[in-house]
């Protein structure tokens, strides 16, 4: 009896590890190991351009990454911030309407948010190029009302890149906000009303704070991939809108400088981690960051 109990307890103790096993193995093989080789690469140097880099604690790669690409780093984070704010401004009302006024069309509306995702990311970006292209409706309209001059374009400007980023990552903002709004007990709002709260005040004091975790999740889901994106800047931007992803691409593919490209990737990851930590502190969700 006692023996069996012991066995049972042993088994119970082993269970979490067994369950974690496959995931941990996967992570080790396909995340930590590549990350380690990337780290090693970032501290390597090539004796010549086409020779394989050799590990030499080459910290100079990091000083190059940190000093020479400040412009592209700050641009990446600025564009990603603006795209995140724009996505939030569009997504919140949308998610609100779907959650509280969607009724039986909820699933259809949610489906419509996701439908663009059935299209390839690249195709969506190229479609955006057509939308804001010189022959497109948007530019035509802006030229007619005089906001754009006759030879001015939207393409190859920062606004095209930020617009593309917003558009491409919008569903990542809508879905988490929707989930957090949908879970809110509407009786709380009714109670606020009973206590003579205005609709706006009820929103401000009840609905919005309760939806903050969704806003937090959504902003991260938009911000992080947007900051590292290079496709939008490549197709919609110009030489003055290049982001850090474009620099990494150029270092890898054109200049064949793998160590600097790897160092840039690590600096980027470090900055993202700091930003996320600060952000979670500010939003009061330090438990979950």
């Amino acid at each position: 009896m006692i023996q069996r109990d012991d066995q049972g307890r042993k088994r119970a103790r082993a269970a979490p590890w067994l369950l974690l096993g496959p995931g941990m193995l996967f992570l080790f093989l396909f995340f930590f190991f590549p990350l380690y080789t990337l780290l090693e690469m970032s501290l390597s140097a090539s004796p010549s351009r086409f020779a394989s880099p050799v590990f030499t604690w080459e910290w100079a790669n990091y000083s190059e990454a940190l000093t020479q690409y400040g412009e592209q780093f700050s641009r990446s984070f600025l564009y990603a911030t603006l795209a995140t704010l724009a996505a939030l401004a569009i997504a919140y009302p949308l998610a609100y309407v779907i959650a509280f006024r969607g009724g039986r069309y909820k699933n259809v509306l949610l489906g419509m948010v996701i439908v663009p995702f059935f299209t390839n990311f690249l195709i969506r970006t190229l479609a955006w190029k057509t939308i804001v292209g010189d022959q497109g409706m948007v530019v035509d309209m802006l030229r007619t009302v005089g906001i754009l001059g006759e030879h001015e374009s939207l393409l190859r400007r920062p606004i095209a890149v930020i617009g593309g980023l917003t558009y491409n990552f919008l569903p990542f903002m809508v879905l988490p906000i929707y989930v957090s709004l949908e879970k809110i007990d509407t009786r709380l709002v009714d109670a606020a009303r009973d206590l003579y709260s205005t609709t706006w005040r009820a929103f401000r004091k009840i609905v919005f704070p309760l939806s903050l975790p969704g806003v937090f999740a959504g902003s991260l889901l938009v911000f992080i991939p947007a900051a590292g994106d290079f496709v939008n800047a490549y197709y919609l931007g110009s030489t003055k809108t290049t982001m850090i992803g474009n620099v990494v691409q150029n270092q890898f593919l054109v200049q064949v400088d793998y160590p600097v490209a790897a160092a840039l990737s690590f600096v980027f990851m470090a900055i993202v981690m700091v930003i996320v930590a600060v952000y979670s502190k500010l939003l009061g969700t330090e438990d979950i960051a």
């Binding site: 093989l29 995340f31 010189d134 022959q135 003055k240 474009n246 200049q255 064949v256 979950i288």
Partner: protein, 394 residues
């Protein structure tokens, strides 16, 4: 802690798992990429293992060729198989010299197969493949008798003086393409191009863009040095800074020119020949100060076990009859003597191509174009870094 706070907390913790999602996705992404890389590394080996041995002969013979998009006439692969009995696996997997180099580097640097028996790369990359990294092997001249048809001007490039390792697939010109509806007038010089009010781009291929700027500033790109090219880089920098040039472009300029998204762009001749068939507003010119001439060269990777079959492949397209079929479709400059006669024999629109200087360049046009010369490793790094700096990625 009040109940409400507790509720918010629980809710927040639940959503924390969602907040973790981006990092999870990235992990998955990285993991999957790594897995894909693994497959990419193993794939060619499997492909190579599946490929039949060259000596087996008969219907089992097959050769794999990697080339650029839109660089083959639709009927030619079948004609090749019918004519030679060799099965052809034709891949359009080259979009960019640098990108392709990065793609094959991991395997070729270790002497592993890349699953292809021939690839087609531009002069300067051919120089890197033949003389710097040495990842290519000689063509089998015994299987390439039509080499005799190679145009004299292409027979002795500095990077491969006897054409032992490479054979031009097609040649082309780099100049300026413009949509006359947008520019309102003909463009003849680089300065007129820079003065265009609408959107313009230059090519992301450093040698094409810098070469034309070097010619306009009196430098000679056929013997390039970084010191000589400084005025050209300054002119380019100024044009980008003051907005005369909107950005850089790869092959995408083709659609943008036709649709009017671009008024003008640095462009490759064959692309423009193809669009101007449908859109007469799009025109191509070589600036008065000069344009660039380049060739894309077929080479055999050192890891291919079928150099003979790959040589038979290029031999087939050095027969003027087959070369003319290609020219009629892709409208670049054929590297093969006798193509003009075959085009005339084909009649119709093919015969008209003979009068198109972009397809059959005149002597005066050829006198006004240069081939970008070889760069040693140090100079190449200087050129690449300077260009990356100006175009926003350096």
């Amino acid at each position: 802690m009040t109940d409400r706070q507790a509720m918010i907390r629980t809710e927040a913790l639940r959503l924390a798992r969602m907040a973790g999602t981006p990092r999870w996705s990235r992990r998955q992404f990285l993991g999957r990429s790594a897995a894909l890389l693994g497959v990419a590394a193993v794939g060619p080996a499997i492909l190579a293992a599946c490929g039949s041995d060259e000596s087996s002969g008969g219907s089992g013979k097959s050769v794999t060729v990697s080339n650029w998009v839109d660089y083959m006439a639709p009927k030619s692969p079948k004609a090749f198989t019918d004519g030679t009995g060799i099965e052809l696996k034709y891949k359009e997997d080259i979009n960019d010299n640098n990108e392709y180099f990065a793609k094959v580097k991991p395997n070729l640097s270790k002497g592993e197969s890349i699953g292809t028996d021939a690839f087609v790369l531009t002069d300067w990359m051919a120089n890197r493949m033949i003389n710097q990294v040495k990842w290519v092997q000689q063509l089998d001249d015994a299987k390439f008798p039509n080499k005799a048809n190679m145009r004299v001007t292409l027979q002795k490039p500095p990077f491969d003086p006897t054409r032992a390792y490479s054979a031009p697939w097609q040649s082309g010109l780099t100049g300026i393409a413009y949509n006359i509806k947008e520019t309102g007038k003909e463009i003849r010089t680089l300065d007129e191009f820079l003065a265009i009010e609408g959107s313009t781009t230059v090519l992301a291929e450093m040698r094409d863009t810098v070469g034309i700027f070097m010619l306009a500033t009196g430098a000679d790109p056929s013997v390039p040095t970084h010191a000589d090219s400084l005025p050209a880089f300054d002119k380019l920098q100024k044009a980008i800074d003051d907005g005369s040039i909107g950005g850089t472009n790869g092959n995408e300029y083709v659609n943008d020119l036709a649709s009017g998204n671009l008024a003008a762009a640095f462009a490759w001749s064959g692309d423009v020949a193809q669009i101007s068939r449908d859109n007469a507003d799009v025109r191509f010119m070589i600036p008065e100060s000069g344009g660039m001439l380049w060739s894309d060269n077929l080479m055999i990777p050192s890891t291919s076990e079928k150099p003979g079959l790959a040589s038979e492949f290029i031999n087939f397209f050095y027969d003027p009859v087959n070369a003319a079929v290609l020219t009629n479709y892709i409208q670049y400059i054929a590297p093969v003597d006798g193509v003009e006669d075959e085009l005339i024999k084909m009649g119709g629109s093919a015969a008209k191509l003979v009068d198109d200087p972009l397809v059959v360049p005149t002597a005066e046009l050829l006198a006004n174009v240069k081939i970008f010369g070889g760069l040693d490793e140090e100079e190449e790094v200087q050129f690449d870094e300077h260009f990356a700096n100006i175009t926003g990625t350096g």
